[in-house]
């Protein structure tokens, strides 16, 4: 339960970190908040030869409103986002989602970008980024690459990041003011990993039908899942109970067969996924602002 030996370096500049990654990428790990990496080291599930601590790179500590999205830099902690008046005002869904992550003590250290880079399919932020069709920015000494969420998450704890690249920014697209949104989790205890979770963003038409729908899930597969068929089943409707029941039945089919563990069987997860679909879609629709 102690980390194995490694070489440690805490550069103060992004360029230095990228140079180290270029040289040692295959054998190196980036350390930001450490709330996923350090447990992996403690349990000896990870044993990188080198650790590059990016906490001193102050140029990566920013939260900025850009055209089309909110940009969050690689050293921004969960609590920083929770307390940010900019995020509270302009991206309240992100605040809502972040408040479901771990415990206060974890959020004081953990980073937004780190949660995305860790790519845990049971985690909150990958599901949010998938739902919003957000993007990430990967940097190396050779330049910068912008990757869409759908192409970034490639399987359980796996991403399309190359060994010499560092994730430096995550971009959460803005939600239009008239859209309704909701995030929910079903967990056995407060702060535990959720058995399933869902996020929905729904936009109404002028005559108050559902014009567009984004619905994504965590904890139901090896990847965060955006459920197009669920979305299609509610678009054009007024979200009556029959529509919700139908959407819930479709949602069941997105739970992969191997999602069985000591906490829940596949059948139970399917039942939870159906139920949470109804709840999250209903809650999101209730929050919409009717257009006049």
């Amino acid at each position: 339960m102690k980390p194995p030996r490694f070489g440690y370096c805490a550069p103060g500049m992004l360029d230095e970190a990228l140079a180290l990654l270029e040289q040692h990428g295959e054998d190196a790990k980036i350390l930001a908040g450490g709330q996923s990496l350090i447990p992996l080291l403690n349990m000896r599930l990870a044993g990188p030869a080198y650790i590059i601590d990016i906490n001193h790179i102050s140029e990566l500590n920013y939260i900025e409103a850009e055209e089309g999205y909110l940009a969050v830099g690689a050293t921004v902690r969960h609590r920083q986002v929770e307390r940010s008046s900019l995020v509270k005002e302009k991206h309240p869904l992100l605040v809502e989602v972040v408040q479901h992550i771990g415990h206060m003590q974890i959020r004081n250290r953990g980073t937004i970008v780190g949660s995305i880079a860790h790519a845990d399919p049971a985690a909150e932020l990958p599901a949010l980024l998938t739902c919003l069709v957000g993007e990430v920015v990967a940097q190396s000494i050779h330049g910068e690459r912008v990757i869409k969420a759908g192409e970034f998450f490639t399987g359980y704890l796996s991403t399309s990041l190359n060994p010499e690249e560092m994730l430096t920014e995550v971009r959460f697209p803005w939600i239009t003011p008239q859209s309704g949104w909701a995030f929910m989790e079903l967990a056995r205890r407060s702060g535990d990993y959720a058995l399933v979770g869902a996020v929905a963003v729904l936009t109404p038409t002028l005559d108050d039908h559902c014009m567009s729908a984004h619905v994504a899930y965590l904890g139901i597969s090896g990847n965060p899942v955006r459920a197009r068929e669920v979305e299609d089943s509610i678009i054009g409707t007024t979200l009556d109970e029959q529509t919700l029941e139908h959407a819930a039945e479709i949602a069941r089919t997105f739970v992969s067969d191997d999602m069985e563990d000591v906490h829940a069987t596949v059948d139970y997860r399917r039942a939870l996924t159906a139920e949470i679909t109804k709840r999250v879609v209903r809650a999101a629709w209730a929050r919409r602002k009717a257009m006049k």
Binding site: P3, G7, C9, A10, I38, P39, H103, Q105
Partner: protein
Amino acid sequence: MQEQEETPTFSEESLISVTVNGHIYERNAPVRMLLSDFLRHELHLTGTHVGCEHGVCGCCTVLLNGEAVRSCLMLAVQADGMALTTIEGMAGTNSELHPIQQAFQEKHGLQCGFCTSGMIISVHAMLHENPNPTEEEIRHELSGNLCRCTGYQNIVEAVKLAAERLRAGAAFNAPKEVE
């Protein structure tokens, strides 16, 4: 924080300077040493307990620059230059208990005591941010600290009593920190 004049290099050992409960300590330690082990083994501050060592139980919670964090989920070298408060820093100078400790004692908010140092630190952080929490908020905020003895009832009672006394003006005993 180290000055970066040349290309930074990797090391396996580092000189660490931290302020703990107002005292400055300097020690050489392997970079792989966890902050929890640094406090216990190098500084002999054994009030910080180590339970699960992967961030679940909350026993090792300390204040880092005023924020509650898991000391088992940080390398000691990452705390270089920072100010920490551990359970040893909670009581007053004449050993009078902190109002939170006093409330835990009076309400029997502990049995074996293993989780207590982490509980006290987490409650300190909670009440600093939210001086008048509801029972639901208390239970939610304490969900990151596991107690296997009490069933939490008396802990919740203790937090309510501590909050009431602190609101009524009992000294918060601001952690002995130097920025």
